[in-house]
């Protein structure tokens, strides 16, 4: 089942993929920590300008993959390319254009938020010495910490710490931003703000890689998804395609469900009743054929849409054991 997803996602992507349009890529990535395989055979592709959500249960290798992508950890095997540069060897060429918040914010408790950022900014090659104070103030404003910048980091709430970490990633204009669990510890308002910032970055053309275990968050902000399970990528591709793949149903909402069923049966399109109308199978017929048949048959059609799996279902299907997956797909069928 998982392989079919990968094949479909790959095949239905824009056919001649431009090789240069990848912001980051890993090939055959493997990392072994003291005999434990953390990730294995990870082939991740992050297209330029995409917002890629990296999903996976705890311990599925998300953070390890990100750390190798950023050159913090040397892979046991495999290759990493970040903005066209091999990592970790060419890190000085790539990292100035990459902002990252990895494994939670790391700051000194006895310094204020502003002082912490200044220390970080001092090491930022893109900033000249005289630009540091302004860059720090801008980043603080952007994440809504302007008012608390003078307070010691020790006294920050979890949400404020997370925001300061984000400010550190956004100190200078980036080509790529990597956020590892950015909404950890944030309240709903804070989560919305992060989402807004991700949307802004996306609008600016910045590539964003965001790892999360919150599915709704990924569904709301991402254009692409990569699902990790047990240290390997089990599915990746554009979010819409992934959600539509594996579904061959067309949902037609109509007040006249019985009539619709009749018409479709006459046209030899298999269908059944759905909550707001009918679900037509489009493995043999195409969507326009279904609509034409219905309209010619005089059925009132209010809305037609492709059936989508919820990300949660998709995620569950991809990350469950085979035995569980079988049981789940039965449930899926019953529900559909």
């Amino acid at each position: 089942m998982t392989t079919s997803f990968e094949v479909e996602a790959g095949a239905s992507g824009e056919a001649p993929a431009r090789p240069s349009a990848l912001a980051a890529r890993t090939r055959g990535l493997r990392k072994v920590y003291r005999g434990t395989v953390a990730v294995d055979q990870v082939d991740l592709e992050v297209p330029e300008g995409a917002v890629l959500g990296m999903l996976g249960p705890n311990g599925s290798g998300k953070t390890t993959t990100i750390r190798m992508l950023l050159g913090l950890v040397r892979p046991t095997e495999g290759e990493v390319e970040l903005l066209g540069h091999r990592m970790p060897e060419q890190a000085p060429s790539a990292l100035p254009y990459v902002g990252a918040l990895v494994e939670g914010p790391g700051f000194h408790p006895f310094l204020s938020g502003r002082e912490n950022l200044r220390r970080l900014a001092a090491a930022e090659p893109q900033l000249s010495f005289s630009d540091i104070p302004q860059a720090v103030e801008d980043a603080l404003e952007r994440v809504g910490l302007g008012g608390a910048a003078h307070r010691r980091y020790r006294g920050y709430s979890l949400g404020m710490k997370q925001r300061l970490g984000l400010a550190g990633a956004l100190l200078v204009p980036r080509r790529m931003v990597v956020l590892d669990e950015p909404t950890n510890g944030l309240d709903p308002a804070g989560t919305r703000e992060i989402r807004k910032i991700i949307a802004e970055l996306h609008a600016e053309g910045v590539t964003v890689l965001v790892s999360s275990h919150l599915l709704a968050e990924v569904e709301a902000t991402c254009t692409h998804v990569a699902v990790l399970h047990d240290g390997t990528v089990v599915a990746q591709g554009e979010l819409d395609e992934l959600l539509e793949s594996g579904n061959d149903g067309l949902l037609v909402s109509t007040p006249d469900g019985d009539r619709a069923l009749e018409v479709l049966r006459e046209n030899r399109i298999s269908s059944r009743l759905a909550p707001e109308g009918v679900r037509a199978d489009i493995t043999t017929a195409t969507a326009p054929q279904v609509v034409a048949a219905l309209v010619h048959g005089g059925v009132e059609v209010h809305e037609v849409k492709r059936e989508r799996t919820g990300l949660e279902d998709l995620f569950a299907r991809l990350t469950q054991n085979d035995a569980d997956a079988d049981g789940l797909s039965e449930v899926d069928e019953v529900r559909a």
Binding site: R18, F107, R119, P125
Partner: protein
């Protein structure tokens, strides 16, 4: 959308930050840390307390001129030159190495534990440069610690005895400038010994995430070396032990000054610095951050 930044060339920017800028940021971090200030304060109090104790305790019992701690302190009661040297000798035995270890432990292991080292590594600061900055930071802090003790020692000594009693252990009198020169020499020599400790401590610091482990290791190493130096059964080992020449600090108070032990100690310390920093470099460049 996807082509927006794909082909565009980026403005030519520096790939590395000037070392001095990083060093400045490092010093700012070290000297803003409350712990640093408390330690420097404690180091300042020690010579002052010794001076007060000597002033209150009255005249020395033993005759001046003998080697060893007690007589050295006793001499300090009537001699402004001796107090800073005596304080540094006492500090070098254990306290100053510990303070150095604390600083080295915070520099790498402590930053790693806080997750703050990542910020600089991702900026990026190359690992070699990172070690250079960390080494300079520890070296500067160590120098500051020694200077605090020496300066307070000189001031306390002068407050107690005035500039009148500036004579060496051999009884010759020194000019004020010559006396200050001797104190500066002692301070420089002690600093070099501490840099040796600091280099080894940085190597340990690069291997762990627990700054406390660095302090304990240096404590254990110092105590063990001191004990081994008492055992003649392992005298073949003595030339390799850093504290072997620490007692020689008192030599700066003699006239003429016997330079053998001091010179030997300086060479030994330099070897420690080279070996310690090499190990630290080997570790910091290969470890997962």
């Amino acid at each position: 959308m996807t082509t927006l930044t794909a082909g565009t060339t980026l403005p030519a920017t520096r790939r590395t930050v000037p070392l001095f800028r990083l060093y400045r940021a490092e010093l700012r971090w070290i000297f803003r840390r409350p712990r640093t200030l408390v330690v420097l304060g404690l180091l300042a109090v020690i010579p002052a307390i010794i001076a007060i104790a000597l002033a209150v305790g009255g005249t020395p019992e033993g005759p001046p001129g003998e080697q060893g701690g007690d007589s050295l302190f006793a001499t300090a009661a009537g001699n402004a030159l001796v107090l800073p040297i005596a304080a540094l000798t006492a500090g070098l035995a254990l306290l100053l190495p510990l303070v150095t270890a604390m600083s080295a432990g915070d520099a790498i292991a402590g930053e790693l534990a806080h997750g703050t080292l990542r910020g600089w590594l991702l900026a990026p600061v190359g690992r070699g440069r990172l070690l250079v900055v960390k080494t300079l930071g520890v070296a500067t802090f160590t120098l500051a610690a020694v200077l605090v003790m020496a300066v307070v020692g000189v001031v306390a000594g002068l407050a107690m005895n005035g500039t009148g009693g500036l004579f060496t252990l051999n009884g010759t009198t020194l000019s004020f400038a010559a006396a200050l020169g001797k104190v500066a020499l002692a301070a420089g020599w002690v600093t070099l010994q501490l840099w040796a400790v600091g280099a080894v401590a940085l190597a340990i610091s690069a291997c762990t995430e627990h700054p406390m482990l660095v302090v304990v290791s240096v404590l254990a190493g110092t105590i063990l070396s001191t004990v081994l130096l008492q055992l003649s059964a392992v005298d073949w080992l003595h030339p390799f032990l850093l504290p072997q020449s620490w007692e020689a600090l008192v030599d700066v108070l003699r006239d003429p000054m016997p330079g053998d032990m001091l010179g030997q100690g300086a060479i030994r310390a330099s070897c420690y610095v080279v070996i310690g920093l090499s190990l630290a470099y080997a570790r910091i460049t290969t470890r997962d951050g």
